[in-house]
Amino acid sequence: MRPVATFNASRCSLLSCPQRIPPSFVALRCALPVLARRANSSTTDERTVNQSVALLDSIMGSSSTLDLKTSSLSDILSPPTPPTQNSTPDPSQMLIPPASDPLLHFLASSLLNHGKRARADRVVSRTLLYIHALTRAPPLPILRHALITASPAVKCISQKRSGKNVVRPAALTEKQRIRAGIHAVLAASKNKSGKTVEERLAREIIAVVNGDSKAIADKELAHKQAMVNRGNALAK
């Protein structure tokens, strides 16, 4: 991803883009198509959501494999709320959109093999297409919701102290969380039906959104271990 003007690329967030970029910190938010937009961005998203909901209502009981009620669908598809800022927007700051969605770029990087970036990008595009084909809904919010759901919040570090193994929970950064989530989803997608990587990955993402996935079960197990050892969290 090319660095965007006015911010430090290494600290960019994978999950959210603001409407304006303050110089103090960065949060990139890319919900649907990446365009330079200002105040009227949410109306386009709302219109798309409403159209998708209407489509789903009209074809209820058809080949859609996604078991979503309208309320949960609107929860997933509603655009993420921007960070609350009390100051008025500075007209001298120009919103320059990034070259690509950071989350999709990161997903492609995880699928990268032998440096074949174009192939990885193609897999990601086709995965989104499969998700849309199976759900008849905008695929990007579903993908975002699935990766957030599958991402663990903590990891357990095992250290040998005084002859015994002491397990210490440690918090993960956003990038570490997303990476762990992507790896869990990719590993769980191997058991899904489908001839290609993109088809299996799409089915796994839908399973994560539905709530029955090995990735979520593993996350819960890791969280349980962290909770059991929470006494070691503040120990040095």
Binding site: S13, F25, A27, T149, A153, V154, I157, Q159, R168, P169, A170, A171, L172, T173, E174, I216, K219, E220, H223, K224, A226, M227, R230, A233, L234, K236
Partner: protein, 81 residues
């Protein structure tokens, strides 16, 4: 009769990564224990969001410097012989 060790060396302690956002982390883990909401979807969502926001804005601390105990042991052992 004094014991002579040719090369005095200790295995230095492993430098763990610095404990950033420890308070928020322990709050979230305590919430999980109290409510059983491991996935932070209902009651513990606020605590999880606080931790995530802390991790986003916490200062990036570099690697801890390795212990120089072996250098001092070698230096003092050389002088005491």
């Amino acid at each position: 009769m004094t014991v002579h060790i040719a090369k005095v060396k200790v295995r230095p302690r492993k430098n763990l990564p610095p404990n950033v956002c420890a308070v928020e982390l322990s709050n979230m883990l305590g919430c999980w224990a109290a409510t059983g909401d491991m996935l932070s979807s209902n009651q513990c969502q606020a605590a999880a969001e606080t931790l995530f926001q802390c991790m986003r804005t916490a200062p990036v601390r570099g690697k801890q410097p390795r212990s120089s105990i072996n250098y001092h042991l070698a230096r003092l052992g050389r002088n005491s012989k």
